[in-house]
């Protein structure tokens, strides 16, 4: 059914529209435009900022020091997204093909960590990965067992297990981001796979294609919108992540959000921080634009 023209019932229109429009204008657009204006400003004295229309902040931001952090953040986010896709796809498949009885519980199992506080999840993972944590102790146990087995068959036992540094490096950041973003990936994949016509899979199998071939030639192409949605929904927050790299990464593993935070809280260089923020926002827009172009091309080719 067609939408109603707003002029047909102005009173009803303004009754529902005034508050959300005003709120978005006042508490979203105005603050964002302040950031934008600040990005063209410069520090005058200790606290004052002058809107001088300068491009210096952007010039500084595209120096290699900061550009490399951008590139690195993007690389980390992309890696996290790929790992989430690989881990999450079979889980989404399992959800799709689970029995009616099990599916809600499996879904709840994936969702519950997603509803749990991000900081608590990050902290819990830090306990696991600490030098005395369970990850290290489990590996130590395997090491000791291997050592014992070697001595059992008369070989030199292995040297004693040295706990390895699992926290405060790039690997920890990637692992932490995968841990907190995995549910973001599974849900869109599941909703795409669930909508898929299962008789197509059956037909493919009946016609002699193997499971792997059916997966690659039938399931993946049909689920592509969901896969792209999952990639976007994981990539964008991972790119802007602050907490995980801050807590789990070392000084070498800072991502772009950490650099922005430092400009505002410690370096007190708000204009430069604002410029970096807007570069991050532009990066998001480019990602979204690229994603929205793709399906159109696909449609034309078909």
């Amino acid at each position: 059914m067609a939408e109603q023209d707003w002029q047909a019932d102005k009173k009803a229109f303004w009754a529902v529209s005034a508050t959300p429009l005003l709120w978005t204008l006042l508490f979203f657009l105005v603050p964002m435009s302040f950031v934008w204006l600040y990005s063209f400003g410069s520090n005058v004295g200790l606290t004052d900022i002058e809107f001088s229309g300068t491009l210096d902040n952007y010039k500084r931001a595209i120096q290699w020091l900061y550009l490399s952090i951008f590139v690195k953040s993007f690389g980390v986010a992309a890696l996290v997204t790929v790992i989430c896709l690989i881990i999450g796809f079979p889980v989404a498949m399992a959800l799709t093909f689970a029995t009616e009885k099990w599916r809600p519980w499996l879904l709840l199992g994936i969702m519950l960590p997603f509803w749990t506080n991000l900081l608590i999840r990050t902290y819990a993972l830090m306990i696991m990965l600490g030098s005395n944590g369970y990850a290290n102790r489990t590996m130590g146990w395997f090491w000791d067992s291997a050592s014992w087995m070697k001595s059992l068959v008369g070989l030199q036992p292995l040297p004693a297990w040295e706990p390895i540094q699992l926290l405060y490096n790039n690997t920890a950041v990637v692992l932490g981001l995968v841990y907190v973003h995995l549910p973001f990936m599974v849900l869109p994949l599941y909703s795409a796979l669930d909508r898929l016509d299962k008789s197509l899979i059956e037909a493919s199998l009946d016609l002699g294609a193997g499971h792997l071939r059916t997966l690659l030639r039938i399931v993946v192409p049909l689920a592509m919108p969901g896969i792209i949605a999952g990639i976007m929904i994981t990539l964008i927050p991972a790119l802007g992540a602050y907490l995980t790299p801050d807590l789990m990464g070392g000084t070498e593993s800072q991502m772009i959000a950490n650099v922005i935070e430092r400009q505002f809280k410690r370096a007190n260089d708000w204009p430069f921080g604002a410029a970096l923020s807007f570069l991050l926002i532009y990066a998001m827009f480019i990602l979204i634009a690229v994603q929205s172009i793709k399906p159109k091309k696909r449609g034309e080719a078909a």
Binding site: F28, L108, I110, M111, P113, W115, G130
Partner: protein, 280 residues
């Protein structure tokens, strides 16, 4: 039990293959092991986290007698309650506006309203910092007014999620029902209250749960918006994790995890597990 079911596997019963089961089990272990370990060791009578030294609840007593921690938790719950309520109203209004009306610049308005979902938290946090500094928002108001700035920031990033959820529910509404009500003499308001609102209800529950969780979860935006004297639970836990790891954090975290599970259970009771996927 499915496990002992010996009927041959149909082609699409992927969940009955061993590798699929081990994969899913592995993922669930990966997701839950850290949380379970955290919860178990909150009862551990040891300063260092990993060796079990006997059962104790002393860290719960410590956490609950830690005034700033309790105050932070109360602040967080208060903010979440207000933010949820406001987000629900504003979000539902925006959803109805976008679903029902055709108006100039609709695409731009639609895009702008959903923008807070994709703008990185850090950028929104920075924007709020600059905004509240610019309008010289007072820092020394009495409770709960001192939470105003944080609550406003939370509403800004929560209500678009409510809009998204409510809008997808409205898509399944048959407008003829509303028209029938009006034909039968219902006023605009009565038709809304008795026909449209009941249809929206599951999405309102889902939206409220989502907004509450997002608000309770938020660290970055609060970190930038809060004044020197207002502290929320995530901000407090952050400083505890950052500067002095104590088992108190485990106890406090366990309490919040339990709160999350209880809230989820309540929400599931209210709307049934079938609608679970709607609330993401």
């Amino acid at each position: 039990m499915a496990l002992f079911n010996r009927t041959p596997r149909a082609p699409l019963e992927y969940t009955r293959t061993l590798w699929m089961r081990s994969w899913v089990t592995g993922v669930l272990v990966f997701l839950y092991a850290p949380l379970v370990v955290l919860m178990i060791f909150s009862f551990n009578d040891s300063k260092r986290n990993v060796v079990w030294r006997g059962f104790t609840t002393k860290y719960y007593e410590k956490a609950l007698s830690n005034d700033t921690l309790v105050e932070a938790l109360i602040n967080s719950l208060t903010i979440a309650a207000f933010a949820t309520l406001a987000s629900l109203v504003i979000g539902a209004m925006a959803a109805i506006m976008l679903w029902r009306f055709r108006f100039p610049f609709k695409g731009a308005v639609d895009g702008t309203i959903s923008l807070p979902i994709i703008v990185p938290e850090i950028c929104l946090g920075v924007a709020m910092l600059i905004f509240f500094a610019w309008i010289e928002w007072p820092n020394d108001l009495i409770w709960p007014l001192n939470l105003g700035a944080i609550t406003i920031a939370h509403i800004t990033f929560c209500f678009p999620f409510v809009t998204m959820v409510v809008r997808s529910r409205l898509a399944s509404f048959n407008k003829e029902e509303e028209e029938a009500a009006k034909d039968l003499g219902a006023s605009e308001w009565q038709a809304f209250r008795d026909v449209l609102l009941p249809h929206m209800r599951p999405s309102l529950v889902a939206g409220a749960l989502l907004a509450f969780t997002l608000s309770l979860d938020d660290f970055v935006i609060t970190f930038f918006t809060s004044g020197p004297d207002t502290i929320t639970f995530p901000v407090k836990v952050y400083s505890m994790v950052r500067f002095s790891v104590t088992p108190e954090v485990n106890a406090a975290s366990t309490l919040l995890i339990i709160l999350t599970v209880v809230l989820t259970a309540v929400a599931l009771r209210l709307q049934g597990t079938k609608n679970l996927a709607v609330s993401h």
